[in-house]
Symmetry: C2
Subunit: 291 residues, 2 copies
């Protein structure tokens, strides 16, 4: 197995920039592309090579990693006429770490395979803090041999790294994560909505319910911020809506019906339509008039 040395990293937002930085620290030669160049400045200062297009960022690399916004972005940079797959060298690994559609991940895998390119889907969870501290959970789908070959890369950026199965499985597990998260988030918001309408002191309710059977990461780490009046995004309303839309769409394909998922998606879309899409998910408290 050839040693992996050169990485093209596409998408250097808050998450991507932190991840690319860890890869540089681990000794990889990193080239970067981002739609807004200024967001790559820190990495370039640190020694990353700037590429003007995704195509330039793909040619000659051992591994190409993407961390972009929406499935349509993923589709464009991978499958577009001058995209990653046609520009990647034979034998290269391509890793999409965007939370995206399992169906699209399967399509990328198949298109890549005919060109002898190894595609892996590897979305993450853990947010900006997890990216900064290299403690991300990574959900990996694709060929197991490729997963093993990429261990040095995953180990440089994550902590709980789980191989879930064939192409698309990483995306499926990430969507499952978002569905569970949505239930905890909305349940916590409703608990505080009930409390407020009943005339209780919200801080006392938080003290009484956050550590027992109702306790969740969402309540303690996310909803609490909103209760304290902070609506800055750790994770944006519009991005959770995107993830849950993927969940709704694919659950229909898989033949299952998930009413909590559908309901929370509806609430988030309503929040987006009222101008809260760029706020943190704790803004769901506003849907319930808690804030």
């Amino acid at each position: 197995m050839a040693t992996l040395k050169k990485i093209g990293f596409i998408g250097t937002g808050i998450m991507g920039a932190a991840m690319a930085g860890h890869l540089m620290d681990a000794g990889f030669e990193v080239s970067v592309y981002n739609r807004t160049k200024s967001k790559a400045d820190e990495l370039i200062k640190k020694g990353a090579k700037w590429c003007g297009t995704p195509a330039q960022c793909s040619r000659g690399q051992d591994v190409i990693i993407s961390m972009v916004g929406y499935p349509k972005d993923v589709e464009q940079i991978y499958l577009g006429d001058d995209g990653i797959i046609v520009n990647a060298k034979a034998g290269a690994y391509i890793i999409d770490m965007t939370t995206s559609s399992p169906t699209l991940a399967e399509k990328i895998y198949n298109e890549a395979k005919v060109r002898d390119v190894h595609a892996i889907d590897a979305p993450v969870t853990g947010g900006d803090t997890g990216a900064k501290n290299a403690t991300l959970t990574i959900f990996v789908g694709g060929d197991e041999a490729d997963f093993k070959a990429l261990a040095p890369i995953f180990n440089a950026i994550g902590k709980n790294i789980v191989y879930l199965g064939t192409a698309g499985s990483g995306q499926k597990a990430k969507i499952a994560n978002q569905i569970a998260l949505a239930g905890s988030l909305a349940g916590a918001c409703e608990a505080f909505a009930y409390s407020k309408s009943a005339g209780l002191d919200i801080d006392k309710v938080f003290a009484s319910i956050s550590t027992g059977s109702a306790g969740s990461k969402q309540m303690t780490d996310i909803v609490k911020r909103g209760l304290d009046g902070n609506f800055d995004p750790g994770f944006m309303i519009k991005h959770l809506a995107k993830d849950l839309a993927i969940g709704t769409e694919t659950s229909m394909i898989y033949g299952t019906s998930l009413p909590i998922l559908a309901l929370v998606l509806h609430e988030l879309r309503k929040m987006e339509s009222e101008g809260h899409g760029n706020e943190g998910t704790q803004s769901l408290l506003k849907y319930y008039d808690v804030k």
Copy 2:
């Protein structure tokens, strides 16, 4: 303030028996009543005095504690013709620890007050394990002076003891707890339903999602049991349905609309109608065909 010494304990099911036992260990003289006497046998062997009726268990006691099933049971033992309030001595404390209606708690408080009896609502969470280990969370409503006077009793059975405000506030906070719990429970069940329908290995999904942003006490402590094929009740489907029914009813009075709460209640009622009411809440996995 007179020293509290004699306690009448009504309702010695799994939770109540453990709590009454701790009170005996703390030095209180405990009398017990239970509809099914055999469930009090252990306590009687340990030295508790048996009473044939709730009335007998109320007369002459410094404190009367109840831990029964449904609001209708609470109403009967407190407000019935030969109930607790008419039999309690002037100056006695009465503590309902059943999860019951905030409205009923207010009614009991008012009826008690005219007879110079001090009513406190103090439902708990933490389940049979919390009761056994005296680590329950206790949600207290009523007069703050009464809450303070009862500290030796609460400290003997609980750990996180929070005073929430006037009569009924303990019940309100407990219902808020159940609403948040319901969201986490149903969200986790949907996550595994999605995973199963998508063909994923459920154990691998659990390993990847249970420790991160989707993590919750419900997922780790409750749903996991069901994934492992154990549907024994820690907490029964029918009891969570009862709590959420109280939540739905009172939220209408308070003028708020909580769709997640309504949806999970609907799912639990469906489970009850199909004969799963006495199973643990992890049986909600069956609603989603995960098990």
